[in-house]
Subunit: 320 residues, 2 copies
């Protein structure tokens, strides 16, 4: 588990943009569970962070100075930038955000990476059909709550698993989730799942892994789809993750288990943003944000992801 | 682990066919790993065997008496019949076997259920592409050796994992498998796999599960396909099967793990038999059979599957 002393704040000059580059003042920083993986050395789907280098993640900011014809001062942009007050980026690494369409923070949430992750993971891998049962772990996170709502839009019965009663109340009362389970207080997860899923589980959208998944897998139906989106319960383990192997369940149910990362769908982002934007516009898709104030609180906001503090998208507001 | 005293031989009258039925004299009985699953009580992909009922499995036999226009005495047929000397079956449960096309035993092997399992599992789920690396566990079994050969036909590099040097010699010298690993004598399975798969693993066709799979999964490549065909190492466990969870590997590699059973492909059997038959005819596909003589040795032949005694398809020849 990372701690505050793994982070350091360093003063530096505001960088200067070269030809084709843009200077961006940070407004919002995104902290995401997947970033934990980048703090390990070793091959993974994104290159590891280097020690003593700036941490890199999703940012929404304002263009201060532009040496590209594509941007002018005052434009709101998003991209993968540094955990810093000012960043220089090449124009092609940035995407313009229209603040009139939706709050700019949605570019880091429901209309950004987490929303697209939910959309493609559920629609393309999960392939929900009307009347099916969808179980979502990490249901109150930025990805999970979007998955729950898309599954409802698709006519599914949705069971959300989250770690607090407050989160579960939000899921049931605000997002129309059919049933919720608090994995931290459930006396018997298997019984809770049995009660919640009388017809078994057709899609398990997994953000969490570990013991929660162990409890879900025995309930999968014939031809079930298990979408492996995240495994947040494992990211801080310093030993191999051991548990009941899922292969026997997949075998006897002719079931699929598929891992993915959102960049697999890069060529289809426009389609996803358009559909999600339409649902938000029509009031079919809500989103929640948990915004911490102050650049200096970024590491704490990140660490809070692993104790399950956030309801919805965890962001840091940077005033500077 | 089942033992001889779980089996009983019972004398009975030869049954008489009714209208639309056929009396079949058994020539060959198939014993298959999947039958072990039917010896457990509980929901699985095939209904469990009932205690004190005849065990049911693949049979090749000769029609002795027919009350169906579709068959006449002397016809060679195959179907799911009993472990018995004579069976009565409805005509529609039987398929005619042409003894001039290939030895009749192939209807229980390369041109039957194991061959079709290999074909659809590898081609439809594994989707092999030229130059990819395919690892096959249980490579010297009836399914495994067919998978190895189809993968070679598709232009892949093939690594077979089996439990004896004799089996591995057969795989390398007779079936053109590129490299083999003896999982029983390998000092370090991970090192052996690393040496055998310098470019990682694109397809893992798994008949075995357990520790062998644990060793393979860390080597899967981006977009790898893990075909869960069998888990023979687990069938006789009386406790939950615990090991390193595969989900983290699937996640970081955007990899697929898919279980299946051959009946999922029932509508495409003709396509599979035709293709396999053509490869056999062209000499591109070999097959091995391990034939035990004598009906009374059927339980022993079945039990031998779990100690890895068979090279290729395990059959029992019944002379009666």
């Amino acid at each position: 588990m990372p701690a505050m002393d793994n982070f350091a704040t360093v003063d530096a000059e505001v960088p200067q943009p070269k030809d084709g580059e843009v200077l961006v003042r940070t407004r919002y920083l995104s902290v995401d569970p997947y970033m934990r993986g980048r703090m390990n050395d070793g091959k993974s789907y994104v290159a590891p962070f280097a020690v003593n280098e700036v941490i890199n993640g999703g940012v929404v900011g304002e263009v201060i100075e532009s040496r590209s014809a594509d941007f002018k001062p005052g434009d709101i942009v998003t991209g993968q930038l540094g955990w810093q007050l000012y960043s220089v980026a090449r124009a092609k690494e940035l995407r313009k955000v229209d603040p009139n369409l939706a709050p700019v923070t949605t570019a880091l949430g429901v209309l950004g990476m987490p929303g697209l992750t939910a959309y493609f993971g559920l629609v393309d891998i999960g392939k929900p059909r009307e009347g099916e049962t969808v179980v979502v772990s990490g249901a109150a996170g930025a990805v999970g709550m979007t998955v729950c709502q898309i599954a409802k839009i698709k006519g599914c019965r949705v069971i959300g698993i989250a770690g607090s009663d407050e989160k579960n109340e939000y899921l049931e009362h605000e997002l129309w989730v059919d049933r919720t389970i608090n994995y931290k207080t459930a006396v018997d997860m298997k019984q809770a799942l049995k009660d919640a899923c009388p017809n078994g589980v057709d899609i398990y959208f997994d953000n969490v892994g570990g013991a929660v998944s162990d409890a879900v897998l025995p309930f999968i139906n014939q031809n079930a789809r298990v979408v492996i989106c995240g495994q947040i319960s494992l990211y801080n383990l310093d030993r191999p993750d051991v548990g009941p192997r899922p292969q026997p369940y997949l075998l006897v149910k002719s079931a699929l288990m598929q891992g993915f990362i959102i960049t697999d769908y890069a060529s289809r982002f426009a389609e996803g943003v358009k559909q999600l934007g339409q649902w938000v516009h029509e009031g079919k898709m809500k989103y929640a944000e948990n915004i911490v104030d102050g650049f200096e609180n970024t590491p704490n906001a990140f660490l809070g992801l692993f104790s399950g503090e956030n309801l919805g998208k965890q962001l840091v507001r940077v005033e500077n």
